[in-house]
Symmetry: C2
Subunit: 164 residues, 2 copies
């Protein structure tokens, strides 16, 4: 089964699709960018279209989204929340299950501790998926990490120790 | 032309449609409710469906949304942001213009000062639209107030003093 991980954002929204099997396999990864000179509703609509296409092509069973926290400024957090909401309803419309993980849960699952930095997460994503090089920008690695976090939380994975 | 005002919320999302003419006229008003025992993505999808139907039926030219602030707790604000984002993209998909007004702008336009309470706003909405009774719950009156705020901001209205 495919898990589509999302690191939501208005300027850069990372996505990473992982196949859950004996060993997790990277299927697709990238970033949706929107132009900050465009009005927010139009940028959100652009993300909606891209995500709809992505879900239509990849047909994931699960969409895993990084939960928005309020570390950044309120306006940024609100835009990220809007993106998250749009992705949730696109996922529901396509019949996908939707799960959310906090940044700490993602870091804990992928790098072994909740305080891991972006570098460690990027390194572990590369290692876990056996990729020839690091995923860039960090939003892409983060999105894949969210998908891997969900894989790690699936009962079969825990039994098999799929990630570690 | 029709302006659809929205007071976004996950449990109760108020809407109010006003026709902009010599004197603003109420066209439709109500509240979309979702069940708090249901998972958030499904509640968001429910709101999306209802808003899509509403926009399809009313065919507003403009969707005016009350901007989310962070007076409440962060989780509530985030859910309200998600609802706002979803409504924005539904409006864009339907070819509507999207505008946002802060709660203070709405109160200023409708009640004459930014510190007006819910009661004053409700009373003024009733008076401005010549309604036989107050709109309830407050979310409905607030949504109509957002639509009236946009009407007040339109150049022709300002010249004609449509609201006052």
């Amino acid at each position: 089964m495919f898990v589509l991980g999302i690191d939501p954002g208005l300027s850069r929204c990372g996505y990473g699709c992982v196949e859950h099997g004996r060993k997790p396999r990277a299927v697709a990864a990238g970033v949706i960018r929107t132009d900050s000179s465009v009005e927010r509703p139009l940028r959100l609509a652009e993300i909606q279209r891209e995500i709809r296409t992505l879900i239509g092509e990849l047909k994931p069973q699960v969409v895993a989204i990084e939960r928005v926290l309020f570390q950044q400024n309120a306006t940024t957090a609100m835009s990220v929340g809007m993106v998250s909401g749009i992705i949730m309803v696109e996922a529901v419309s396509a019949g996908c299950a939707v799960v959310e993980y906090s940044p700490n849960e993602v870091k804990l699952a992928v790098a072994g501790w909740g305080g891991a930095g972006k570098d460690e997460v990027g390194q572990m994503v590369q290692t876990l998926l056996g990729l020839p090089k690091r995923l860039k920008p960090a939003d892409v690695a983060d999105a894949v990490a969210v998908a891997l976090c969900h894989v790690a939380h699936m009962p079969a994975s825990r039994a098999a120790g799929a990630l570690r």
